[in-house]
Symmetry: C2
Subunit: 369 residues, 2 copies
Amino acid sequence: MPETAKRSFPHNFSPGPGAIPEVVLAETREALREVPGTGLPLLGLGHRTPWFRSIVDEAEAHVAALLGLGPDHRVLFLQGGASLQFTMIPLCFLRGRGRSADYLRAGYWSAKAVPEAEREGRVKLAWDGRPGGYARLPSDGELTLDPGAAYFHYVSNETVEGLQFDRVPGLDAVPRCCDMSSDFLARPLDCSRFGLIYAHAQKNLGPSGVTVTVIRRDLLEAIPAGLPPMLDYRAQAEAGSVYNTPPVFAIYVTLLVLRWLRHEIGGLAEMEKINRAKAAAVYAALDAAPELYRLRAPRDQRSTMNATFTVPTPELEARLLAEASDAGITGIEGHRSTGGFRVSLYNAVTLDSARVLAGFLGDFTRRHG
Amino acid sequence: MPETAKRSFPHNFSPGPGAIPEVVLAETREALREVPGTGLPLLGLGHRTPWFRSIVDEAEAHVAALLGLGPDHRVLFLQGGASLQFTMIPLCFLRGRGRSADYLRAGYWSAKAVPEAEREGRVKLAWDGRPGGYARLPSDGELTLDPGAAYFHYVSNETVEGLQFDRVPGLDAVPRCCDMSSDFLARPLDCSRFGLIYAHAQKNLGPSGVTVTVIRRDLLEAIPAGLPPMLDYRAQAEAGSVYNTPPVFAIYVTLLVLRWLRHEIGGLAEMEKINRAKAAAVYAALDAAPELYRLRAPRDQRSTMNATFTVPTPELEARLLAEASDAGITGIEGHRSTGGFRVSLYNAVTLDSARVLAGFLGDFTRRHG
């Protein structure tokens, strides 16, 4: 048995919906009794109230402040997760434009975006990682980019494979549409280089059920008329993210996480330092036993958010899972498409939890390596 | 000042997101500490877990049991609210079918469905209440129904106007698609007469962010291939309502409400009795002062869910709102499109709360009638 002390609740490395900061969980429990200043519980508060408008406005302001956004960008809170963004982007920016879009297919999630775009127009693959089993990301020299493309779509962190870009690929002349679902607000970001960024909340931001989109105003204004309003960024922006009844609970908890990120953590540079320390601790324990832990990603493309690896035999895999569970460690199973292990280190996972996991991996090496 | 005793929290007649049963709020607070049997807080539990599968399965089973559904119907949990259903229905059942669809335009919400269908195909209005200001519902004899229509769409309870059907309009030979967002599971229902029923959760079922759809299997099977999976009922059904990350929190709380409805209330017939008693108490207080309270709906079409009325002057309106607030009564403002008052009496509003409101309305009459 590992020596790691058991806590009253497990160290949660879930790939999403992921852990929520302890302080936010406590505030959420209290809000279910009464939201400060309203006299009512969080469930039962209307969305057409000055209170909810102030919640959305404050959440937008925190995102804008964390990212240093200027008036050129709008922040939206939408429903349907990244999967509905896969449809909305080509509907708004590809259909009927007489141009093609460049898509980078470099992992499970960026691959899922491609057929959704192909329903609406012509897609060119700027690079295709599928023949190589999504084992690595491309270099800039490998990309085939069309300067006349309607937009360029990629995924900044391939959460299933554990691959993360440490640069911004693409041409500055072509609007970048980036799925940052698994690393949004986990590090500083120069939004001026993006036309549209989207991220569902349930990894770094809050509960599942809400998706944050940051969109440049000139793209908003170019959306053609006549689209279904629920799938139209412009209609959603004109309605201030309240076109229809929004997920009030998920947006409120996201606001609490944004306050925590800004005021308790201290912003994205501080968050990145913590995230790098967490990843360093876990990768060091994995690297110390290369025969036991077989990492998927090339060293310079390793994700700070998701460390993915396999062990040599099914017996060791089962043993690692069981001993982790005994050690109060949960959520480390790999994605159903790959098997193996995936350790997710999203913003709310503490450095303490990462160190506990690293210690456990070291202990496991000593017993079974 | 009215004599109604002040409670620690208001009597909430919100039009939605509406009140949640007290016992469910308490269970939800506890689940944010730890969901029974999981060792983890509700926020942080993954959706690709046996636990979450059991939550969806149990929620489906409760809906099926409450409605007496047989194997001909499927229950789905979707995102995007009724507004996204307005788009999904014509996308799946009208586009490219070479047939038109019949729509009943009888209020604010059924009117919003019409342009969404017109994007995808030809729409015939089976009846149009707009010229009459949506003051009443049609009789069966007034409907113009096409026996060759792809489907017939209507809204069972027009929540803005306070109009409710006490019958099932339409032809049995044409699939009925019914928006029951504001009276689903508030009374018994013969689902065999419907092809598709949908209801967002935030009135009678749970928090905002999840929509329940009951769909007949033959309609599912007739959906053409090639639609965006997020907008395709068949893809959602094949994925067991977990095509992408669902709103885990909203579905869990909906399950708690369904357990309460089935096991504490005792089912739909019992729920209807309570809802009728609530509505009777409120309408009696309104009817007692016809010069003061001017009801919108014809008597035989009054909604048991939403009582809508106006008072003669803006001064009385402001006074009623202020005195209601002092009496611990909230959420009674009318819809922004109509003004006046709307008292919503969804499932979680107690008979006690309805009686308190009725008492307040009587007191107000004595002071200002």
